[in-house]
């Protein structure tokens, strides 16, 4: 059974025409029914039921619950929920039960939302397929032999399998947009700093963002509006848009919109079916009255190299805290403290975490710092300047989310560099700090797998991005 729009669900709960407990049971039933896809790590059945009962009692007593009254949701496992195991799909954090929770979950719960489950991901967010989960691989809802994308593959698959009306994921270099594209849902990466990172297992602090995965742009906007904005627990957070993010009843007219389609992403290396879908989407936007023309950002092909210097550098720093002494997991072996560190980290980290820590350690080490890290930070400036210049002339940029539709499980597993290339189109907006969204467009003509269109706006233009994406959702025909 599919879900109503989130605003309607909350209204119905507040109006007592449906009960929160029934919504929770609907979620739990869908989670049970689709177990074989392995989207979920922890089911929070009892906690969710008791929260639902409290909400139903409040409604019965005439108390206003909030804008997400009784709405079930699923959190990626790197997002902390109080007294619930948070592994980030890693052996290192197995058994880690935090006594506090993320600001995002705090704000969602304050408006009456109910977390029903924690979802699978690539361990610590390192990957594009969930194959780097230390526990199991999530299957694509459209084809069990294919990956759901990653790292938020569990939350994305869960939304498509109707386990909840929305899920919350994290996007460091594409980890919301790419799985959204692979499974056929909406995935939003907000402007950097708009979403508090407090209580989220850190991957790369200069690009980590927290965003919704939903079945419509309207729902994504509605959820973002609840939790976006400054947080005293995260010094990098910025003010929310004074007008908020909930979509106005009448969406923006396309004819006033100037759209640039990114030339560098439409060239060599792009799958033919993806190219066809993106070109068709561009044609649909034109037919609806928008101006769409090719635009070039010449430094874009460098973004992936910048990303795979800066992000491993930040990963190696952030994962230093996982030393076997502080967070549950510790190897028994080792005759002194140094060996306790090296043994715990050898057993607790999977292959990809080790790979990124080693690369990060290399590029930050004395003698290499200027050539790698500082150079990458400077090329990042070049990218930012090119995006700023383009946004002087265009309202939005569009292009593919990834070079391919969902690939087969195992297809890229033995070649880490090949797996990194999947991130080619998602990393640049992350490095530049601009908001970007993936919406489903025409599926692949060959395999029938979903394909997403990426839409990018200038920094802090999240509200405008969502309004345009909602209009595009209507204008583009599958």
């Amino acid at each position: 059974m599919s879900w109503d729009p989130i605003a309607k669900i909350a209204n119905d709960v507040q109006a007592s025409t449906i009960k929160a407990i029934d919504l929770v049971e609907q979620s739990l039933a869908a989670i049970e029914k689709h177990k074989e896809y392995q989207a979920i790590i922890t089911v929070m059945a009892e906690q969710a039921r008791s929260r639902a009962k409290v909400i139903d009692e409040k409604v019965a007593n005439g108390v206003k619950v909030g804008r997400l009254a009784g709405v079930p949701f699923i959190a990626k496992d790197n997002i902390l929920v109080r007294e619930t195991e948070a592994t980030a799909s890693s052996n290192m954090l197995k058994g880690f039960v935090p006594p506090y929770q993320s600001t995002i979950v705090e704000r969602l719960e304050a408006e009456g939302a109910i977390c029903v489950a924690k979802a699978n991901q690539d361990a610590f967010g390192h990957g594009a397929s969930t194959e780097n989960s230390d526990f199991f691989v999530t299957k694509n809802p459209h084809d069990k032999t294919r990956v759901p994308g990653g790292s938020s593959g569990g939350p994305a698959a869960a939304v498509v399998l109707e386990m909840a009306p929305f899920a919350i994921g994290t996007d460091t270099g594409g980890s919301i947009r790419q799985p959204a594209s692979y499974v056929g849902c909406v995935g939003l990466r907000p402007t950097y700093g708009l979403t508090s990172r407090s209580g989220v297992v850190a991957m790369a602090s200069s690009t980590d963002t927290i965003g919704p995965l939903t079945m419509s742009v309207e729902d994504a906007a509605y959820v973002l509006d609840v939790y976006a904005g400054k947080d005293e627990l995260d010094g990098t957070t910025i003010d929310r848009d004074p007008q908020g993010y909930v979509l106005p009843p009448i969406t923006r007219h396309l004819p006033t919109t100037k759209v640039g389609i990114i030339k560098e992403w439409m060239g060599e290396g792009l799958d033919d079916d993806v190219r066809k879908s993106i070109e068709k989407a561009a044609a649909d936007l034109r037919a609806a009255g928008a101006s769409v023309e090719e635009v070039s950002l010449p430094s874009l092909p460098l973004a992936l190299a910048v990303y795979y210097i800066l992000i491993p550098a930040e990963v190696s720093s952030n994962l230093a805290r996982h030393d076997g002494q502080r967070y549950q997991f510790s190897a028994e072996s080792g005759k002194n403290l140094t060996e306790s560190y090296t043994h715990s980290r050898a057993k607790g980290f999977g292959r990809e975490a080790k790979r990124r820590i080693m690369i990060g350690t290399y590029v930050l080490s004395s003698g290499y710092y200027d050539a790698y890290y500082k150079k990458a930070q400077t090329v990042r400036t070049k990218l930012i300047n090119e995006f700023n210049a383009v946004f002087e002339k265009y309202d939005f940029l569009i292009g593919p989310v990834a070079p391919n539709a969902a690939f087969k499980i195992g297809e890229n597993a033995d070649d880490p560099l090949k797996m990194y290339l999947v991130d080619m189109m998602t990393v640049a907006p992350a490095l530049v700090g601009v908001p970007a969204i993936s919406i489903p467009v025409q599926p692949s003509g060959t395999t029938g797998m979903p394909i997403g269109l990426q839409i990018i706006a200038a920094q802090r233009q999240d509200r405008e991005l969502l309004a345009f994406a909602a209009a595009a959702e209507e204008a583009i025909h599958e």
Binding site: V97, P99, Y100, Y192, G193, S206, E232, G235, T236, I238, L302, L304, A305, Y308, S316, G324, Q325, R326, Y327, Q328, K335, N336, L337, T338, E339, S340, T342, R345, A346, F349, R351, K354, R355, I357, M358, I359, T361, Y362, V363, S365, A371, Y372, K374, K375, A376, Q377, T378, V379, R380, T381, K382, I384, N385, P416, L417, Y420, L431, V432, G433, Q459
Partner: protein
């Protein structure tokens, strides 16, 4: 192009406090060399006149009041997360020897 040796990989692993199996060390020699080879394309990029970016939204010197606040949990709750504690402190193995 950077070609890491097995000794380079073992030295990096030591710096990163990760002990590697022989298989891992072998795999990392070629994998890390390939990744570094890829990112090295940046060395040819002209960045004259540009400064490195450390923060993308332009925030500087974010301040807050220096005051104690309560967030609903105590230090003892945080210590419960650790694998070994004694007298409300983390207990670790000997540091020397």
């Amino acid at each position: 192009m950077t070609k890491l040796t097995r000794d380079d990989v073992l030295k990096l692993a030591h710096l990163a406090r990760i002990s590697l199996t022989d298989d891992e060390a072998d795999a990392f020699v070629s994998e890390l060399s390939a990744i570094l080879g890829y990112v090295e394309q940046l060395s040819a990029v002209d960045v004259s006149g540009l400064q490195p970016t450390n923060q993308v939204t332009g925030l500087t010197n974010v301040m807050r009041k220096d005051e104690v606040k309560h967030y609903g949990y105590d230090s003892i709750d945080l210590l419960h997360i650790a694998p070994k504690t004694e007298k409300q402190q983390l207990k670790v193995k000997r540091m020397i020897g």
